[in-house]
Symmetry: C7
Subunit: 77 residues, 7 copies
């Protein structure tokens, strides 16, 4: 997968339909299935859950996350 990444958005494109971990500013983490993103890095996840200290904390379900609150996005390995 890493071999075909020329631009940063390629990684998001390849992660559509897959589980990702979002690290937000201020220590909040959200995991869920990546449905959509745009150039502002606005993200839609389905089946999203907030994570705290590695433990699931709250089910959010379908969610729109604004790009400017995101630190990083990592596909679940």
């Amino acid at each position: 997968m890493a071999n075909t990444i020329e631009r940063p958005l390629d990684l998001l494109n390849q992660s559509r339909g897959k589980e990702v971990l979002l690290q937000l500013k201020g220590e909040k983490q959200i995991v869920g299935t990546l449905l959509a993103f745009d150039i502002h890095i606005n993200i839609v996840l389905s089946n999203a859950r907030e994570i705290e200290n590695g433990e699931p904390k709250r089910n959010i379900g379908l969610v729109f996350i604004r790009g400017d609150t995101i630190v990083y996005i990592s596909p679940a390995s």
Copy 2:
């Protein structure tokens, strides 16, 4: 619903007239019925209530919320 989301704003479009939960920066949460939004993610809700620790705290009614204070927006399941 999730099957038809190609771009992040599709989720907001599909949530018009429905109850949504807004997570704001600094732990504030607001729930209400989504009436309108724009590309800056400015939002208008009707029948809005502030939520604190999962409990309703204050009725706000009709409200305009600036996009740049928003962390995420989730349709009530």
Copy 3:
């Protein structure tokens, strides 16, 4: 009123000449009569008062408020 809101700025347009509550970043609240606004959500209020813990704290009178300090704007019900 809510029935005729297509875009977020419609709510501000309909609130001209009426009392509104402004929630600013950092817990400050201001109430006053909405005289004018622009696309940056810069706001002019007349007869404005700062509110703290639900109590009036200081009369400000006529005031220009920069949009980027605003969290939400709600017409008084």
Copy 4:
């Protein structure tokens, strides 16, 4: 004065040559005579004084204030 305000900048225009109170981010306040402003809400005051807890704290004289540090601007009544 309030009757002739169509756009937010009209209030600043009408306040040229008059005393205004500036509320800055982080509780600092400055009063002075409004000499000039631009669309970024950059402001020049003459005879400016910093105010703390309602008391004058320091004379600044002539001063250029960057718009993005300003919360609100109110003409002295």
Copy 5:
């Protein structure tokens, strides 16, 4: 000097070659001779000194200061 200021940048223009006080975000102050500025309010000072509680703290000499860290700029009276 105040009489000829139509736009905020006029004050900076008139202050070239003169001593100015810069108030930065987070209480830092710098004094020095204003050599150059641009529309982003980026500033170059010569003979600059950091000031803390009204006392000189550190000589900086020639320095480029990014505009977005500046609260206000005041010509020494």
Copy 6:
């Protein structure tokens, strides 16, 4: 390597496929192999690990990091 750097992005270009250290705002550090970047300094790393006080803390693997959370990027020497 330093001799051929005319513009800042040249350093990132020369670091593709090599190990880099990212210093994020708020003391977080991430090391990994630089796969891709864009003009917003959005970054994709493979084999990324979070570092705390110089010690590896958590494996992240493949990751997209938003540019506006980055303080600096240094190729491992």
Copy 7:
């Protein structure tokens, strides 16, 4: 050197290949040799070292520093 500075970026241009001190937001300081910069004030230094309380703390070597974390840049005198 100061005599030939018309615009702020002239100082950075004249400092290429010379030692500079970077003051970052949040008290971090970095010294190093200025190799490159751009209009966003993104900077590349070689032989960079982090400084804390005036003492060298960590060698960074070659480094790309994002402009928006920079408070000021001063050529070593």
